[in-house]
Amino acid sequence: MQIAVKNISKDFGKKRSTVHAIKDISLKVEHGEFMGIMGPSGAGKTTLLNMISTNERPDHGQVIIDGLDITQMHDREQAKYRRNKMGFIYQSFELLDSLNVKENVILPLALNRSNKKLIEERFNYMMQLLNIEKLSKRAIDELSLGQRQIVAAARALINSPEILFADEPTGSLDSKSATILLNYMQMINKKEKTTILMATHDAFTASYCSRVVFIKDGVVFSEIVNPGNRDKFFEQIINMQRTIGGGDYFNVSKNY
């Protein structure tokens, strides 16, 4: 087991208007697992992901990664841990507009002051792996949305993170670009043995996972394990969505 989340909770807002985003959630993630977190908007998916990835601190509970309680770490240590062990892909890409593609991709290595040779080697490897060699000198605003997300994925993976966090990675992409990205993520999960935690509300995206945890109103509602057949898994996810949302919660009709 790589990640153990123990009874974490998080509230937002002031006294009268407090929102309980996460209520006492516990879950475990195995090494090399591709886990999806699903739920309707406002269910707490992003908050949960942010807490596991140290971008937010829980009000209560623990997050233990590789035996280390990261909630007890100082901000600076958390940032270091995040930089060395984790990679991030966001719906809004979070690329730095002032840097070109190459600079964006090598950013995590440059921040770690890795040597120039290693930077070049890893960069070339990632460009080849994700098939985006031609983009390396382009500016960010010259890329399509799909290309931007692949570049964001390259940046997330360049320092071989042990855990990859993806928050709605296909949210801004068309279905073709989304499929390409998800295939890459699956390939990386298998080839590099990278643990992936992905928050999504899209059943098709979630069907690439090995396991999907459903949360609703800040608590774990249910979870489904991929039986090995993606179509069947997709159907199970749709059914669970119907159960949670009473049929139309995720824009899926009862007669699907």
Partner: protein, 666 residues
């Protein structure tokens, strides 16, 4: 809903608005104080000698101040509208009518201006007395400064409030309209390196030549009375500094950052990969502002330099004209002693020195002409026995050297060259003499230059006229009454000397006349009977105090304006620039590293203008420093300015980091 939008906008930029409002309030408060001082009865009473001038000076100063403050408000007020660009465009996309958005911009400005005016007027009411007392302290007037604000002043302030607020609000409304009309905005600036690099190199060349020219100016400035060279040099330095600085900002600094960016071993190390580009982007955005601030800082430093040296020059001139509170010669000493006894003056020190007056002839380097005139001679030992302050502006001499003391051709520039070959009637020629401008017993006691000579020379030299000078220092003044002074007025001139110049000095002679000649010929000289500091000292202190007050006020106001412009430029980042910092944090950049970027940004933004301003103000020292050296006091003044400026940098960094951190916690 509109109320909520305005409230939210004001609240979102509260740090920036606070700085702007405080800067405006300070300007409004100072303006109000200056305006109300014009009618203040206690000021009129304290400055009776300057009475007619007070209204004019305060009106002129407050007008100038108001104009500068208004330009500042127009310029800086626009930053806030620019900052709300995305918000305004979103409102339009959501279907809000243009006039409503323009009205929001207008109302926001009205609110901010109203708050600034209210705080400014409170500042004026609270600090008027304090400022007045400070003014009286500087003028050394022992009077109570009465707080006074006339109805006319209130009317003027109210009119100005309405007028300026309306104009500023309309300007900002127009700016809002323009934003809505020009929807597209370039985020990435195209860098034209082919133009920037040569421009930057040319800028460096201009700045370097300006510095070389400044060094020449140090050497040439004293020739300003007869040569056009210094003025040409000043013209070149000003042009080269102003243009050179802009070109360096435009071309050289981005090029340096670009080169550093290309050196991968530096650029790909840590946060540099981002910060070099970020800095470059921010530099591109702020080039004009940095240049503007540099030039105004240089102006502020030049003003301070001018004021310091101007004050020093007038002060020294005053001191060399009136070194003793009372001075007399042997014709008037008896009468003055009697009068002093009558009023029981407390004498602190009495001095007496014998002098010889003889005819001399020499070639004057400063006026570049041959001169023949009477000269007063004093022995070295007599000169040395006088208080040190009498020798302050003179070169140091030993017992074998000669010292020629002459009037300065200008208050500002002293001639420090030696004089040579001075022919003295029936005495050996003086081969070389050091120079000075501090006359013992005061310049007005002498009708021509003075010569300090070795004791032996003095004893052996003949004299056309012999005289003795007397000087007194008192505790709490000479206490001479008005009637005593009227009586002494008839002794103001001791005697007159008519010089009969012949073809050679030995044949020329001086004829002493006790009565005033009916006709003054060019060769008739008057020996003063006595010299008194008296009311002149008060005039000088009051004028000097008022001058210092105004200069200090302007310098502080300029500093606040410049500092706040830079601070606001740093605080008002574009949304996407703030987002980039947030992204860095998200992908694992430590807070301390983001902090480093903010520190670098603040340091560069504040450091670049002050460094260039200091380089430029070096020329101001060359122009005004008649001592041809950088004195301790000017270093202190500059140091003070830099400390206050750095304080702004520190505040800017603190507020800036607070803003970024707030965004991180979102």
């Amino acid at each position: 809903m509109y109320q909520k939008i305005i409230k939210r906008s004001l609240s979102n930029m509260r740090d920036s608005y606070l700085i702007y409002i405080l800067a405006c309030s300070f300007a409004i408060g100072v303006f109000g104080i200056l305006l109300s001082m014009g009618d203040n009865p206690s000021l009129h009473y304290a400055l009776r000698w300057w009475d007619t001038l007070i209204d004019d000076i305060t009106a002129m100063m407050s007008g100038l101040f108001a104009l500068c403050a208004f330009v500042y408000m127009i310029y800086v007020g626009g930053f806030f509208i620019k900052q709300q660009r995305n918000e305004f465009l979103t409102f339009e996309k959501l279907g809000m009518q243009r006039w409503v958005i323009v009205a929001i911009g207008f109302i926001q400005t009205v609110i901010v201006q109203a708050i600034a005016w209210i705080i400014g007027l409170i500042f004026m009411f609270v600090f008027q007395k304090f400022m007045g007392m400070l003014l009286f302290y500087l003028m050394q007037v022992r009077l109570n400064f009465e707080m006074y604000i006339g109805l006319q002043n209130i009317g003027q302030l109210f009119t100005l409030f309405i007028g300026s607020t309306l104009i500023l609000s309309v300007i900002n409304a127009v700016k809002t309209m323009r934003i809505l009309q020009k929807k597209k905005r370039k985020n990435s600036v195209k860098t034209r390196w082919r133009l920037k690099i040569p421009a930057g190199v040319f800028g460096i060349v201009l700045l370097l030549t300006a510095q070389v020219c400044t060094l020449c100016l140090f050497k040439d400035m004293h020739t300003v009375s007869y040569s056009s060279r210094p003025m040409m040099e000043i013209g070149y330095i000003m042009g080269a500094d102003i243009l050179g600085t802009y070109l360096v900002y435009y071309g050289f600094l981005p090029s340096v950052l670009n080169i550093m960016e290309k050196i991968h071993s530096v650029a790909y190390s840590g946060i540099n990969i981002f910060s070099f580009k970020y800095m470059k982007e921010r530099l591109f955005q702020n080039i004009s502002i940095l240049w503007f601030v540099t030039e105004l800082s240089a102006l502020a430093l030049a003003l301070l330099t001018f004021c310091y040296f101007g004050y020093q020059a007038v002060h020294q001139n005053y001191n060399s004209a009136y070194p003793f509170e009372l001075a007399a010669n042997e014709d008037t000493v008896k009468v003055i002693r009697e009068e002093l006894k009558k009023n029981d003056a407390k004498v602190k020190g009495t001095y007496k020195t014998a002098v010889k007056i003889n005819l001399v002839s020499y070639y004057s380097k400063s006026s570049q002409s041959y001169i023949r005139q009477p000269m007063t001679f004093m022995s070295y030992s007599a000169y040395k026995s006088l208080p040190k302050r009498m020798r302050k502006g003179n070169s140091n001499i030993n017992s074998h050297q000669f010292l020629k003391i002459d009037y300065k051709s200008s208050v500002m520039y002293g001639n420090q060259e030696k004089e040579h070959d001075i022919e003295v009637k029936n005495a050996p020629m003086i081969q070389s003499a050091k120079v000075g401008y501090s006359f013992p017993y005061g310049s007005s006691m002498h009708f021509g230059p003075m010569m300090i000579v070795p004791n032996k020379y003095y004893q052996s030299m003949p004299a056309e006229v012999k005289d003795t000078f007397y000087g007194w220092d008192f505790k709490k003044g000479d206490r001479l009454s008005h009637s005593q002074l009227q009586k002494l007025n008839s002794y103001r001139d001791a005697y007159y000397m008519k010089v009969d110049f012949k073809s050679s000095l030995s044949r020329s002679s001086i004829k002493v006349m006790k009565k005033e000649p009916n006709k003054y010929a060019a060769s008739t000289y008057t020996q003063a009977g006595f010299l008194r500091q008296g009311s002149l000292k008060k005039h000088f202190k009051q004028g000097g105090g008022f001058y210092l007050f105004i200069v200090a006020l302007y310098s502080v106001a300029l500093l606040i304006a410049l500092g706040s412009v830079l601070t606001l430029r740093i605080l008002l980042r574009d949304d996407y620039q703030s987002n980039q910092l947030r992204t860095l944090q998200k992908i694992g950049v430590e807070e301390t590293e983001v902090k480093k970027i903010i520190i670098r940004e603040n340091t560069l933004t504040f450091l670049i203008p002050i460094v260039f301003a200091l380089i430029q103000s070096f020329a101001a020292i060359a122009m005004f420093d008649f001592g041809r050296h950088i004195s301790k006091n000017i270093i202190l003044i500059y140091g003070g300015y830099i400390v206050l400026y750095a304080l702004f940098g520190l505040i800017s960094y603190k507020v800036s980091w607070r803003g970024v951190k707030q965004k991180f916690n979102l």
